[in-house]
């Protein structure tokens, strides 16, 4: 199951600078980054090529970081692509907690990355509907 790094950060200047510095120093490459903000603090989520190493490097520097399992869904990079996948999720009453997406270079495909309560069930529902999921290394080295 693919993972991303989830980081607790105060809402202050210099936070991304510090985190990206630690990752860069450890030759960890980022795929995607999102920041959810809640006033005083926020959560930074980063998809990297080596999540376990990245998370450890951050923790070693005293940063509150943890790994969170995610679902990475391959969708068509065309109008209605996300809608078809989202319909399956809605029909099965699956709530998407946190999500982002990006397109895959040199292809007509995109990836929809999200967090849900029940990952196993979500994966099964999507696969049963004919969708293809990206597994760890496929995702990390896109």
């Amino acid at each position: 199951m693919p993972q991303q790094i989830s980081i607790f950060a105060e809402n202050k200047p210099g936070k991304i600078e510090r985190i990206s510095g630690i990752l860069g120093k450890n030759s960890i490459n980022m795929r995607a980054i999102t920041i959810a903000d809640s006033g005083d603090y926020g959560i930074i989520k980063i998809l990297v090529d080596r999540p376990v190493d990245g998370c450890k490097a951050l923790k070693d520097e005293g940063i509150a970081a943890t790994l969170k399992e995610i679902v990475a869904l391959r969708i068509d990079d065309s109008p209605g692509g996300l809608h078809r996948a989202a319909s399956v999720l809605a029909k099965n009453d699956i709530n998407v907690d946190d999500a982002y997406g990006f397109t895959i270079r040199g292809s007509h495909e995109a990836v929809f990355v999200f967090q849900v309560k029940d990952i196993k069930r979500t994966e099964k529902v999507l696969q049963d509907a004919g969708f293809s999921l990206l597994w760890d290394n496929e995702l990390y080295f896109l």
């Binding site: 989830s6 607790f8 105060e10 509150a64 970081a65 969170k68």
Partner: protein, 431 residues
């Protein structure tokens, strides 16, 4: 104006005689309680050998810790059936300090407050709006009963809900208010925001208490409202408000010496200091059936004004409280100890051991911020968990200290380490 001139202007000699008679009775009553029985035994105190007021200084002190030790009823001197009420203040480690009253205690307390209010010129023709919290806190019910005893029309408004307070003042033509100084300033601003001119409300007097404030703040409130503000002093251990009260001359608070024996001590040595010197106020309650308390260390710093007040009252005055000998904080009139906050934080595994208490004043209201570090290992990686943690901290703290804190979650390592003299409390309020 005197409520009971005979007592208030009593000759000093007669007052001391009265104090001694009441002290002897209080000591006999105390000796019947489990707590003092043991204290007197351990310190070889024989009540019969106390033959003058001066002997009081040889008796051991009672502290807030003693009240906790004897919780809930170790200091009670009457059968349960004689008790008609209790009040409580939040304790330093979760256990409350509880004070009990018989019917006579409540009646006497009301009488003392009627005396206090009349000393400022309040009469039965006044409309009294009580904006102190009702409930376990003594501030609300204390003056409520006093004002009723005096014959005022009482509006038991309790604290908060500013627009309602203003409406009550307008509709019932309130003339006297009981309020914390910070809320008085805040409410004055709200009145102005409503497009009203504060002095037009017609409030003539304010009793300010429950939190420390300066002479400048008093002047500001007086100007803002166009009223006379009087300083009052009390603590739940000694019944609540009405231990000492300013008269119309507003130059120090008369401590009612027919109810209380006061001493000023050096807080470090415990040695009694002469009148006029500043130190810690120690009070013996000589007028309470349910719960006599001997030589209670208030932790409040003040001095006795030795000169007699021109108002004619012979009961000596104390100056406004200058500070505390412990780390107690007063937030919006509520007593809070940093150790209470610490005890809650230590119980919650998601936060680290370092914390900071930051106090400031926003629109004249106290705000309590508690800054804690998130404990790395407990970080679950989602916002929901953080919000839940914050909510849990607020709820647990509010349950113990009754003040609603604002929680700031910080990254691990952002606060100074707990070793040594870490500054835990940052008080940005100007008194």
């Amino acid at each position: 104006m005197f409520w009971n001139k005979e007592v208030e202007a009593i000759d000093r000699k007669a007052l001391e005689q009265l104090q001694f008679t009441k002290l002897s009775a209080a000591l006999r009553s105390a000796a019947s309680t489990p707590f003092y029985k043991k204290v007197f035994q351990d310190n070889a105190v024989s009540v019969e050998k106390i033959t003058s007021l001066d002997h009081l200084k040889d008796l051991p002190f009672t502290t807030k810790a003693d009240l906790r030790l004897s919780y809930p009823e170790g200091m009670v001197a009457v059968p349960r059936s004689e008790i008609i009420r209790l009040h409580a203040s939040s304790g330093t480690t979760g256990k409350s300090t509880v004070i009990f009253y018989t019917a006579k205690d409540i009646a006497d307390w009301a009488d003392l407050l009627a005396r206090s209010m009349m000393a400022t010129g309040t009469t039965r023709d006044d409309v009294f709006q009580n904006m102190m919290g009702y409930g376990l806190f003594t501030g609300g019910l204390g003056l409520h009963y006093g004002a009723e005893r005096l014959g005022c029309m009482v509006i038991p408004a309790s604290s908060g809900n500013s627009l309602k307070q203003i409406q009550l003042m307008q509709d019932f033509r309130t003339t006297v208010i009981h309020i914390t100084p910070s809320y008085a300033l805040h409410l004055g601003d709200v009145v102005a925001e409503q497009g009203l001119y504060t002095p037009d409300l017609g409030v003539k007097k304010a009793y300010l208490g429950a939190e420390p404030y300066s002479e400048e703040t008093r002047n500001k409130i007086q100007e803002q409202w166009g009223l006379q503000a009087y300083n009052s002093y009390g603590l739940s251990e000694m019944n609540g408000p009405g231990v000492a009260f300013e008269c119309e001359l507003k130059n120090g608070m008369h401590l009612w010496e027919d109810f209380y024996i006061m001493e000023i001590i050096n807080p470090d040595t415990g040695e009694r200091l002469p009148d006029g010197e500043a130190g810690e106020l120690v009070i013996t309650h000589i007028n309470r059936e349910a719960m006599p308390i001997i030589r209670y260390r208030t932790r409040d710093l003040t001095r006795i004004i030795p000169e007699q007040c021109p108002c004619g009252r012979t009961h000596r005055r104390i100056e406004r409280i200058k500070g505390r000998t412990d780390d107690m904080l007063i937030v919006g009139g509520v007593n809070v100890f940093p150790s209470q906050i610490e005890s809650v934080l230590m119980k919650i595994p998601e936060v680290g051991n370092n914390y900071q208490i930051v106090l400031d004043r926003h629109e004249n209201l106290d705000r309590l911020h508690i800054r804690v570090e998130l404990y790395s290992k407990m970080f679950q990686g989602d916002m929901e968990g953080l919000n839940r943690l914050k909510k849990k901290l607020v709820e647990e703290l509010k349950a113990l200290i009754t003040v609603n804190p604002r929680i700031e979650l910080l990254e691990p390592g952002s606060l100074p380490p707990s070793t040594g003299k870490a500054v835990r409390v940052i008080d940005n309020r100007k008194i």
